[in-house]
Symmetry: C2
């Protein structure tokens, strides 16, 4: 199958989830260029899921039921992909679809479209549902569509439980660790390197702290029976003026990944203690962790209904955005996480169909 | 005095060393642009020191006596300056000349011109003399005029003793320390910083070595009664890919300054021992030290005749180029070293006249 033979997004049959995914892959949507795909999704929802209310914020499209249920489930998937890597043309090989965004996460978008269309056609779920197709997930947080909707129209994302259809390889990934970047600066005084005692060496001044950071053993925290393995890494170091000058500045950046047992302030205090001796310390970025919430009734029911393995999420994801607003959230979607962002990205028909079936079962869709 | 009122280099009276220095400062000669000044010096020597043999190699001008003396003294000064710093117009304030190159080292060039002209006029020295006006001292070694002459026409620089007229503040600076730059690289494996155990952190791998380097106490070596205070400085460090990636490479550059008691190989072995644990080690540059040679008969006589303080030279200078060829050499010239390369560079009449008088006395110039 070439691009030309991928079905048009508006024409793709909803029953063939792999063909629908191919149609989604055939519309390029690298971050900050999601407009064409957002338009296609919006039009398809208008034509094929007219019973749902639609809203658009930038290039984020949200479709909602209004069934009067007591509880609402938010299901989300991002429209954007990382830049192409020679894999921008979708290619079908039997029941495997290759191509940019096939796993991360247009297979998940196909599942969301089918849920919208089946519900609109009368297969009533036991929860109200909100389906969010959002922009800007693969790049800096300032571009994230969920961030913008939460800021400008939070009522569109209100709910009691959220599922993000990121590729999880058939597992439920619960919660997520927080992430904190801190920059530390060490000061010195320049001097000719033949007479270093006339100055002081900022790189030498950083040595003790670097030794402490490198020797630090990050612990693993068990939460709801899940092991959150924390980490602390120096991700950058830089210092030096010229080869004959004692340097007057050395900076390093530490990335701390912390378990949901810790607040951002806890994590900052821990890192700052390890940075004792630095002349300046500055938080570059901080994102809170999300608890797994396995004892929340909806999360517990979700896990029980799906009957799949639950794993802790170690990287930060948008589930934390819901958790920060008191909404428990998990990742569960088709495709293998380890092929995301690779030239060999692909997704299988089985994984998309199993995801759709599991979500339809959890949502209790009748008819 | 403005540029316009500085005497022309060909017309400047040799008796007024400060005016002659001003004439030299008035001809711009930033490194790699020494042509006009080399032309002026060459013409002045042709007109005013016709008894000396002249040679030119690039923009290096060499004038030599051929008196049949058993011993020959080489006296050298570089033509080039560092880039201007708002100080390119010479300015005379009483007996102080301000301006780019006044101290480093056109005061010394004026002394060399006067020596050439007095000798040519019949004030016979007790040694044969070689006067070298050379290009490219302030920049990378590949441009150094002495280096080129030693490589292409070494007979022009043959001698038994050399004096470089760099600014020394009235002291003799003996020998010089060697300098060695070594780059060390530490390797790792990239991984997402949320799962650092999937890779290995190259910056962390550098921590032990950096700690060892920072803790190292460089010793002071006494040679001929002079204290050569050595040093070992990390002058650069660099590592990092992105803020969410475990870095796979970290490099640092060490600058070792070593006393004349040590060969380049000695210094390299010392540094490499401290770098134990690096994945790759590479010599970036190496220049040998020069011994003070205070017991050499000519050096001893020079120091005794001048009756000034002798200090060890800690920075590398061209004296090492002579020492490497078995020729003892010292730095001795007008001006203060600590004003070199500054916007406030200046030189006094007294320091230039004292330098000339001291050298004429050592050379035993009669008449």
């Amino acid at each position: 199958m070439s691009t030309a033979s991928a079905p048009d997004l508006l024409a793709a049959p909803v029953e063939d989830l792999l063909a629908l995914t191919a149609a989604l892959v055939a519309v390029p949507s690298v971050s900050r260029h999601e407009g064409e795909l957002a338009d296609g999704v919006e039009r398809r929802l208008a034509e094929r899921a007219p019973q749902l209310t639609r809203a658009r914020v930038g290039n984020t499209v949200i479709a909602r039921t209004d069934l009067g249920s007591e509880r609402r489930v938010v299901l989300g998937g991002h429209l954007d992909t990382v830049p192409a890597n020679g894999n921008e043309v979708p290619r079908l090989d039997g029941d495997v679809l290759h191509g940019l965004g096939s796993a991360d996460m247009k297979g998940g978008l196909a599942v969301l479209l089918r849920l919208a269309e089946e519900i609109s056609a009368g297969r009533r779920p036991r929860f109200d549902c909100t389906l969010a197709f959002y922009e800007g997930e693969e790049i800096a947080d300032e571009f994230n569509g969920l961030r913008h909707v939460f800021a400008d129209r939070p009522e569109l994302l209100a709910g009691d439980f959220a599922v993000l259809l990121e590729p999880t390889g058939g597992h439920v990934e619960a919660g997520c660790q927080g992430t904190l970047h801190i920059r530390a600066q060490f000061d010195g005084d320049r001097a000719h390197s033949a007479r270093p005692w006339m100055g002081s060496n900022a790189i030498h001044a950083a040595a003790d702290v670097l030794g402490r950071l490198a020797a630090h053993q990050a612990s693993t925290v068990m939460i709801d029976g899940l092991p959150y393995r924390q980490s602390l890494e120096v991700v950058r170091i830089e210092g030096g003026v010229a080869n004959n000058v004692v340097p007057d500045k050395c900076t390093l950046v530490v990335n701390r990944r912390f378990a949901p047992s810790h607040s951002v302030d806890d994590a900052r205090a821990e890192v700052e203690a390890l940075l004792e001796g630095a002349d300046r310390v500055e938080v570059v970025s901080a994102s809170p962790a999300a608890p797994p919430n396995l004892n929340d009734p909806l999360v517990a029911e979700f896990v029980r209904t799906l009957d799949v393995d639950v794993e802790p999420k170690l990287g930060w994801t948008d589930v934390a955005r819901f958790a920060a607003r008191g909404v428990p959230a998990v990742n569960f979607g088709p495709g293998e996480p380890n092929v995301a962002h690779t030239a060999g990205e692909h997704v299988t028909r089985e994984s998309i169909e199993q995801c759709y079936a599991a979500l339809a079962r959890f949502l209790g869709m009748t008819g």
